[in-house]
Structure formats: C-alpha cells, structure tokens
C-alpha cells in the first residue's frame, strides 16, 4: 500500500487516503483479505491525526471497500463482496448518466452515443 499526502491539495487529507486506497484496492495493488495497518499505525506512518485516519477507514468500511474485524483490525473486503459490487454499479450508473447527458447536450443521437461507448470499450 502506498499513500502520498499532499498538504497543499484542495482535497482534505481523509479524502486523499480514501481515493488512493480505493484505487489500489480496485486495481489489486492491495489484495483482498489483506490486513491493513491499524488506524493508529497509519496515523503514525503518515504523521497525521488519528481522527483523520479514523474518518478515512470509517468511510471506506461504509462503502464496502474494507471491513473491520473485532479484535483483529481492518481487512480489504473480499472481491465478491456485495456491498462493494453495488457501490461499483452505482458509480458506473452515475458515470453513464453523466456521459449520456453530455452526449445529448452535444447534440448526439442515442445511436451515436452507443457507438461512442462501444468504441471506447474496444479501446
């Protein structure tokens, strides 16, 4: 796991942690079931406040990316985790909605938008 805190960033520190951990969980840099540093360890490592790391972990747990196991600490959620899947679906739908709106605003027909999506997916 690699987290870089930018003090001059517009994003609050807890959001920086959340974003970077999400990316690394989704791209597999942090493996499923992997144990994460404790809230206090992470605060110490990054030299930031305990409340900040607590907030980041709470948000990530709420969104299903990580789970808290009583007495053991925090772990990356299993891949097939329903909550995480739901979250991803939600984010996909949000993105699609935005894409469709922008496409229509640009005057594209639905067929053209679907074509654009296909092309995008083929890379």
């Amino acid at each position: 796991m690699k987290i870089i805190i930018k003090n001059k960033s517009e994003l609050p520190i807890y959001e920086q942690i959340e974003e970077q951990m999400k990316t690394q969980i989704l791209d597999g840099t942090i493996k499923e079931d992997e144990q994460l540093p404790s809230i206090r360890q992470l605060a110490r490592d990054l030299k930031i406040s305990v409340i900040t790391t607590t907030r980041a972990y709470n948000d990530l747990a709420e969104e299903g990316f990580i789970i808290s196991v009583a007495g053991k600490g925090y772990f990356v959620s299993p891949r097939n985790n329903e909550l995480l899947k739901e979250r991803m679906l939600f984010e996909m739908e949000e993105g699609l909605e935005k894409a469709v709106t922008s496409g229509r605003n640009a005057g594209l027909s639905d067929v053209e938008i679907i074509e654009a999506l296909k092309k995008f997916m083929e890379g």
């Binding site: 110490r44 305990v50 409340i51």
Partner: protein
C-alpha cells in the same frame, strides 16, 4: 469517551490579566493543539493543570484525579516539555538521570539511555551547553522514561529549526500510537497543529474561543473577500475581523453564514492562522467585543 484531561470553569486573575471560565477536555488517545496569541493564557492554564499556579475557582482533573489534591500522582504520570529547560544546566544527562531516578516510581534507566542514543544526545556533556533542539529532546527523553500517560508541551517548537520540529511531530505520532495516552501541545506554529492534532482549543484574552475537533473548526470558518458595498446589511454584523483596504475588504465568516451571499463575494477555506489573525483584528475593530465561539 474517557477524558484524560478535563478543565471546567477555571478562573484566575492577577494584575490586569484573567482566565475567564476556561473549560475544555481532551479524550484519551488523542492530541490537542492549544493555540492563541501571546498573553492569551495558555501558559497560565498549563501551570494550573500542573498545580504550579493557584487558581481562583474551577476544577481540573487529570486521569480522573484532582489537580490540587492528587498533584503528586498526576506528576508521576505526566511528562512536561517547556520552551526552556527545567533541568539543572550544570549537570550532564547522566547526572540528571541519577537525580530524577528516585523521584519517579516507574523510572526506566534503560529507556532513558536508549532515547538519548536515538535522539543523538551525549550523556557526558553539560546539558546547559545543548542546543535548543537538544534540550527539547532531553525533556522528551525524560517524559518518555517514566511511563508518562499524558505529555504536556508548552511551546516546545518556538526557536526550533524545521528538522527538529519535524522530529518532534514524529515522536508525538509514535507516542500516541498507544491509545491510553494523550498530548496537550501549545504552540504558535499552527502548521504543526494542523498536521497532527485531533482537537484544538483556541484561547483568546483568557477565554476559550473554540474547543473541539480540528476538522469541525476547519469546516466552520471561511475567509470572505470582495467589495464592501456588496455585503448585505444582515451579514455585516456577522463578519469577524472585518478589514477594509483600498480595493475591497477581507473578513472571517462562519460557513453557515455563507448561504445567500452575492456571487461577487469570494470565499476560501480558513486555516488556523487565518482564524487567529482575524480574531485579533476583531479586537482592534471593537465593534462587538463579545465572544464569537461556535
């Protein structure tokens, strides 16, 4: 949440200075930054916690113990770091160790010498000849060698170079990894507080101006800028530290009061330094002297 430090209704006056109804508490496991201008009462509050100053009224409890009646036990369990060395300057660190040992029930010589080594402090040089950063580290070494559960620092970073300050933040971050401990940290260097503190208490003219989570403070205030004539009449009264200059004005405003302001006014997040500066400006304005605490 259990409080490691609790101050309620602290009053003390001497000369033309007074602490007025100072109340705040620090939950166990966290770091609190203690800020305010010179003469705002930070050191007096700290001296009161340590029973080094007599108070007029109010109650202070540390580890649930009474600051006056249980002062000996509190001192056993509290480490202090002041801006100047409280240890005998003509002694070496080795001699100081010998002197302190009988005073603390839980003194750990091996821990002390281990810390001296890791802080790169010589044990055979008179501590009066130490640099400011070395003196600070020596006081920390002492605090960490008698199993202190609370560390109180009174402006430990004033006059320290950035490297020594960074080292101190490292040490405090490491110290607080144990959730049964707490840190009260008075300083003028607000960047240090913004980095590692969980809670912050702002003292102003002997009163608590804000106490609570640092995140809450950061989200509660903004700096407003623009042309003076664009400020709605209803908002004028709510501005803190209003300051007009040739091309416009600047003031601190509660984020709650931002709704409905004209677009011609710009605002940005206020940091701790901004807040301290505008509180001081508000005093000079003397428009309304009452507390603006949230």
């Amino acid at each position: 949440m259990e409080n490691i430090l609790e101050i309620s209704g602290l009053n003390k006056s001497y000369g033309d200075f007074a602490l007025k109804d100072v109340s705040f508490s620090l939950p166990k496991g966290y770091i609190m930054g203690f800020v305010g201008q010179n003469g705002s009462g930070k050191t007096t509050t700290i001296r009161s916690i340590l029973n080094m100053a007599k108070t007029d009224s109010g109650k202070i409890s540390v580890f649930g113990l009474d600051s006056v009646n249980d002062t000996i036990e509190i001192k056993q369990r509290t480490g202090v770091v002041f801006d100047s060395l409280y240890l005998a300057e003509h002694l070496t660190a080795k001699q100081i160790e010998k002197q302190l040992k009988p005073f603390y029930n839980d003194w750990q010589s091996d821990e002390f010498f281990k810390r001296l080594k890791s802080f790169e402090l010589p044990d055979n040089k008179k501590v009066g000849e130490f640099s400011k950063g070395m003196k600070m580290k020596l006081m920390i070494a002492v605090a960490l060698s008698h199993k202190a559960e609370l560390i109180i620092l009174d402006e430990p970073t004033s006059g320290l170079d950035p490297v020594a300050r960074d080292e101190l933040l490292d040490i405090l971050s490491e110290y607080i990894e144990d959730e049964n401990r707490g840190v009260l940290f008075s300083t003028h260097i607000t960047a240090d507080v913004e980095r590692i503190a969980d809670y912050v208490t702002i003292l102003h003219n002997g009163k608590v101006w804000f106490t609570g989570e640092l995140n809450t403070l950061a989200e509660s205030y903004a700096v407003l800028k623009g042309a003076e004539e664009d400020i709605p009449e209803s908002v004028k009264e709510k501005l803190i530290g209003f300051h007009a200059y040739r091309n416009g004005f600047e003031a601190l405003i509660k984020t709650d009061d931002l709704a409905g302001l004209p677009d011609s006014l710009e605002y940005e997040k206020a940091n701790l330094d901004d807040i301290l500066v505008y509180i001081a400006k508000e005093d000079k304005n003397e428009r309304h002297a009452e507390n603006n605490a949230v």
